[in-house]
Symmetry: C2
Subunit: 355 residues, 2 copies
Amino acid sequence: MAQRIAVIAGDGIGTEVMPEGVRALEAAAKRFNLDLDFHTFDFGSCDYYLEHGQMLPNDWFEQLKGFDALFYGAVGWPDTVPDHISLWGSLLQFRRQFDQYINLRPCKLMPGIKSPLAGREPGDIDFYVVRENTEGEYSSVGGKMFEGTEREVVMQETVMTRTGVDRVLKYAFDLAQTRPRKKLTSATKSNGISITMPYWDERVAEMAKQYPDVAVDKFHIDILTANFVLHPDWFDVVVGSNLFGDILSDLGPACTGTIGIAPSANINPEGNFPSLFEPVHGSAPDIAGKGIANPIGQIWSGAMMLEHLGHQDAAKAMVDAIEAVLAEGDADVLTRDIGGQGTTESLGKAIAERI
Amino acid sequence: MAQRIAVIAGDGIGTEVMPEGVRALEAAAKRFNLDLDFHTFDFGSCDYYLEHGQMLPNDWFEQLKGFDALFYGAVGWPDTVPDHISLWGSLLQFRRQFDQYINLRPCKLMPGIKSPLAGREPGDIDFYVVRENTEGEYSSVGGKMFEGTEREVVMQETVMTRTGVDRVLKYAFDLAQTRPRKKLTSATKSNGISITMPYWDERVAEMAKQYPDVAVDKFHIDILTANFVLHPDWFDVVVGSNLFGDILSDLGPACTGTIGIAPSANINPEGNFPSLFEPVHGSAPDIAGKGIANPIGQIWSGAMMLEHLGHQDAAKAMVDAIEAVLAEGDADVLTRDIGGQGTTESLGKAIAERI
Ligand SMILES: CC(C)[C@H](C(=O)O)[C@@H](O)C(=O)O
Ligand SMILES: CC(C)[C@H](C(=O)O)[C@@H](O)C(=O)O
């Protein structure tokens, strides 16, 4: 039976990298005889918002919930729609309503890509960031008082539930157990954020008792970002709150050369709802429309999607193809962010052919 | 008339680098004929806590408020006192009660120091992080409900006031105006943190109107950390909330080689209360007791203190001495974090002699 995939390109370079993501998936489907059924939607974009006054139709949940997976590009066009409106009206709704409580983001220095960090080679940086994806600092509780006056005060609650914290920790510990080094690093800031973060630490300590074979350490987020730069080889699985995971999963890929290649999976592990796969990068208004965006983040996200859908071989073939094309290093093929003069299409096609 | 300086060494390497900080200040005082009067306090440390059950005596405010400046080492010893207790019981009290609402932290790649970033030379990285230092994410509002049960929920408020936001922005814009590039970057996360951060952006836009000569841009904190690594040369003055400023002022110094050399000033610009000067690094339990901690963060903080107290020449002589000793690069003098085999004392003495 066909697996149904909802395709939402979004804004900016999202609309440019998405065709390459689909191209690579179709190549993998052909080679591995997969039955993938793509449905394209125009909502979840700022254009849709400008026309309809909202980012999604009222029945988006009904329209999407039956899909096997969502394949997303990037969303946001701050010149016309403020970011918090476009994001809270689309991506952040999907994550929350479909209870995609795991955001999984690999950081891996690939062959042929130059790390901005001196002397780092492929193999030196290879870890996962596991990010809580539904609560924490991304909350909808708060407001303003004395608006427009000198006394104006604005508040926003960080909310952590035991359920929310424990399930992401469990996922991260389970993942650490499957890795050769079996190491888990927790991102905290319990010295300064004095209520939620000590709670996070408590739950980590509690969960650690059930994983005696996993080596656990923790760093405050400030020094942790420093250590990403100074000692990226220390890390194996890094788990963090919604905000800390967000930061670390941009910084980590930057240390591996470019965030243009970084993929992510927004997972509902129980499979009650579709999971969502999207590159880490945003809609990048500064380079949109030029056809020079790197499509690897989108393609690699497609590989994570196939893995999630049970097609390990096809997923591996996609990642292998990415690695092979990067290792080849043909400047006419590669995009500018990784040292080439190619286009989104030239790089996307090269990878699809390889698959 | 003598300027009175309260010296609080704190914990761990704080007690090791402090004597070198004082040594350098005494050398500067001698050369420039300054009348500095040091008073040492044993409170504000975990040892004090273990003896007295609190980090500070009840009358700390009275004892300290008449000083011209506070010179602090580092605080925290998590094996015996949880970090949120030691920090909220000392440093964070000083910052808040003495209304030190500016935390100013220079990030500068010094001669002789190797950046972990490939190909970066002195001159390539030279910016200030201006951090809000009294409110924001470091709040004391929040709590727990359904404690100890599966329904447990923990909340902590981020609090921003117009007064609090505007005054740190004003300081940052004023600072940008004094710099050749006149550039200000605002750290935000208004796409995800949907109430407080859009407010921050609004106030930045409002303040910018009064500084038409300052070039302003903003980045979400996730991509901003990536850009610190990929394009550190983009930055001149970076302003952020309490948490974002905290992160950026560890990451920035890491990009300049080591956080061991980074200084900071916690300033009450009006001079209603003493300002506080401390290295960016913490008490570093992992290397404490070995005499190998880098004293430059402490010494450079001393230079910032002299500048604040009106002794520009003496401050400059201290920074020049640091640069000279680093440029010389004598491995017997330098500490391990910057490639030498020296000790806290060898490096401290070399700098004091230079002054
Ligand atoms: C020790 C800690 C509470 C402190 C902070 O987060 O403010 C430190 O990291 C700093 O940057 O001064
Ligand atoms: C666009 C933004 C709301 C989003 C986030 O912060 O979650 C993005 O940065 C990401 O990492 O997926």
